[in-house]
Symmetry: C2
Subunit: 197 residues, 2 copies
């Protein structure tokens, strides 16, 4: 892979960026092509349709995000406690979204708008990701370091929605990606209130 990426890669990169910025319907092939330095019909030399292109971007986003999070968590070593592992996953996810991975930001933005059949396939790929989060959550409950009063599925849904949102509202300012990631972890693990009821 040379510095000037090949056409196919340039198209994928451009598509990820524009899907993230404009959503599924708003991402026009002409804009995607422009971002890749070509015109719309040229895309069809590399991809059979817009849907196929989008689906590849989704799969790439899920795959890379998944690998990134797992690498950071498993990098903690065998001795890490469930809460430490969960915290690392939260921080890694936010950091990945905010440090310029257009692919995973695109997934978070357009997933709900995908055509039905595609969404089913993407959801299937997403399930390994979902399962990984579920395991982190359940492990923390199992060893008593997380509360059983909260439903594991509800926690997972809320957690992922909360984390995924940050790529839509984050703007570089006084708080950087690393700080936002820490705040997310603190909020989810210890809450906003200073003392328990």
């Amino acid at each position: 892979m040379t510095q000037a990426a090949n056409g196919r890669t340039r198209i994928m990169d451009s598509a990820a960026k524009i899907l993230w910025q404009k959503g599924f319907a708003g991402a026009k092939l002409s804009d995607i092509a422009k971002g890749a330095g070509m015109l719309a019909p040229s895309i069809y030399y590399h991809f059979p349709s817009k849907d196929h292109l989008v689906e590849e971007v989704m799969m790439e986003g899920i795959y890379h995000n998944n690998r990134h999070i797992m690498a950071r968590v498993e990098g903690l070593g065998a001795g890490a406690s469930p809460i430490v592992r969960l915290r690392a996953a939260i921080v890694a996810h936010v950091d990945f979204l905010l440090t310029g991975d257009d692919y995973s930001s695109a997934v978070a933005r357009v997933f709900d708008d995908l055509p039905d059949e595609m969404r089913k396939r993407v959801l299937a790929a997403y399930s390994s990701f979902d399962n990984y989060w579920r395991d982190l959550i359940v492990a923390a409950q199992a060893d008593g370091s997380a509360t059983l009063a909260l439903d594991a599925t509800v926690v997972r849904k809320f957690l992922i929605a909360m984390l995924d949102s940050c790529s839509s509202w984050f703007r570089p300012g006084k708080l950087g990606p690393a700080q936002i990631a820490e705040q997310a972890a603190d909020l989810l693990l210890y809450g906003f209130a200073t003392k328990r009821p």
Copy 2:
């Protein structure tokens, strides 16, 4: 207003439901009209364009949700503590989304996909809502019942994203709207971990 609502109201109700289910681009006028018991061109007797219709649905959703939350919080009386007020707002918001208000669910789903100019106007209407949440959050920090270690703006963004998500994944099951609402409040206020670091 009779039991069989007038045409304009039927169109708005149908539009809210379909916007929530299918998103902005996916909400076709023909589907909206069908839900209102008429055909697409009839919509133009009541609204000058699809965009105008959508904008009215957004404004209605924001207005009603806002009123509902404020009514529940202010109904607590003058003696309620900031944390109790914040908790009531969280519970009210989730409960409102999950107990069949298509308008506020539609706002949560399509806001990011609105045409630029419209989104600016809707955002302006949304600001009173945003300010109300900000005040609840800051008040809790000011009296020491919430941590100053978390940035008030970050908390508000995460909190609203988390709560808004539930209308997209909630399905009636073992946990009803009221239970989900309580879990949201517990998670946000006290966190998932059993003890602080």
